[in-house]
């Protein structure tokens, strides 16, 4: 009991200086995700077609919710997706909407150079939220 209590207090004490890193290994149907405030790495890459997209993106949205309260001066959030299904596209819009109110936010939207659909998807997202997008090929 005592040890648990101390641990919580320590976490509360450091809460505005240390944010946990969210690191999800990619799989054949889920993207690789790294959200690391300290090192300034914010990236979602790979394939996204999970069975339950809302459940999969829940920790991402929660992490962004915490980050919004103590965001870095500027943030480059990278999307480097090879493929996403329609259920994921809704959640990607939710992620973008959560990023929208963070000062100094910029989206780096990567697409494979011959993937017009992914380029177009990025353009559509950029029309749905008020965040600057930069488009890059890989």
């Amino acid at each position: 009991m005592y040890r648990v209590k101390v641990k919580i207090n320590v976490e509360q004490f450091y809460t505005d200086t240390i944010m946990e890193i969210l690191n999800l290994e990619g799989a054949e149907d889920t993207p690789k995700i790294i959200l690391d405030k300290k090192n300034g790495i914010f990236e979602i890459s790979g394939r996204s077609l999970p069975e339950d997209s809302a459940e999969f993106y829940r920790p991402v949205l929660e992490w962004i919710g915490s980050y919004a309260k103590e965001a870095n001066g500027s943030t480059e959030f990278v999307f480097k997706l090879e493929y996403f299904n329609t259920a994921s596209s809704k959640l990607i819009l939710d992620v973008l909407s959560a990023l929208e109110d963070i000062q100094g936010m910029k989206i780096m939207w990567y697409y494979h150079e011959d993937d017009e659909d992914m380029e177009e998807a990025g353009q559509e997202f950029s029309e749905l939220v008020e965040i600057p997008f930069e488009f890059k090929t890989y």
């Binding site: 054949e28 999970p50 339950d52 493929y83 329609t86 819009l93």
Partner: protein, 183 residues
């Protein structure tokens, strides 16, 4: 035993490169995608076409996973569904079939008919309109699957509802992905 040969001949004459029948889950979806990807890779298909086929496949398969079982009188019924891919010289066809309650046909037909009246720009506007306002259903869908299939394929969605019994029809869907790149 001759039906084995008959089935084989049907598959050959219809240019089917993959057929799966059974209960569909996320696991079977992943396996089917892997098999189809390997097939497309080994045939040296262009990456743009490959991506479009993959895209339509995922939406079609996840539709089956989400909708082919349902609660009837508090009991969960799972219905066997079918998924096929055909390859002709000028196109791929992604086809699916699953039982649908007759009471749900009118709504689905209306949606598909609406999609088929729209051009590229119209589909884009419909997609953006839905994604802005949709919430993920309890089945996990965003209501965007058919619109996305129409956009990615650039072709009209073909469908029919042959009758199974008093309560059900079989929802047949065919989406064609042209093999020649656009422009």
């Amino acid at each position: 035993m001759n039906y084995i040969y008959d089935l084989h001949r049907t598959m050959m004459s219809q240019n089917l490169i993959l057929v799966f029948q059974g209960d569909f889950t996320q696991e079977t979806t992943k396996s089917i995608l892997t098999m189809a990807e390997r097939n497309l890779d080994s045939s040296g298909e262009e990456s743009t076409i490959k991506r479009k086929v993959f895209n339509v496949m995922v939406e079609a398969l996840q539709n089956i996973v989400k909708h082919s079982d349902e609660l009837v009188d508090g009991e969960k019924h799972s219905h066997a569904a079918i998924f096929l891919i055909g390859r002709e010289t000028n196109r791929y066809s992604i086809m699916s079939g699953n039982p649908i309650r007759k009471t749900n046909i009118a709504g689905l037909q209306k949606k598909l008919d609406q999609i088929n009246t729209l051009d590229k720009e119209g589909l884009k506007e419909l997609y953006k309109g839905i994604i802005k306002n949709t919430t993920i259903s309890d089945k996990g869908g965003a209501g965007l699957g058919f619109v996305d299939m129409a956009r990615k394929s650039g072709a009209k969605l073909e469908f029919s509802f042959p009758e199974m019994n008093a309560e059900y029809c079989f929802f047949c869907l065919k989406v064609n992905v042209p093999r020649e790149s656009e422009n």
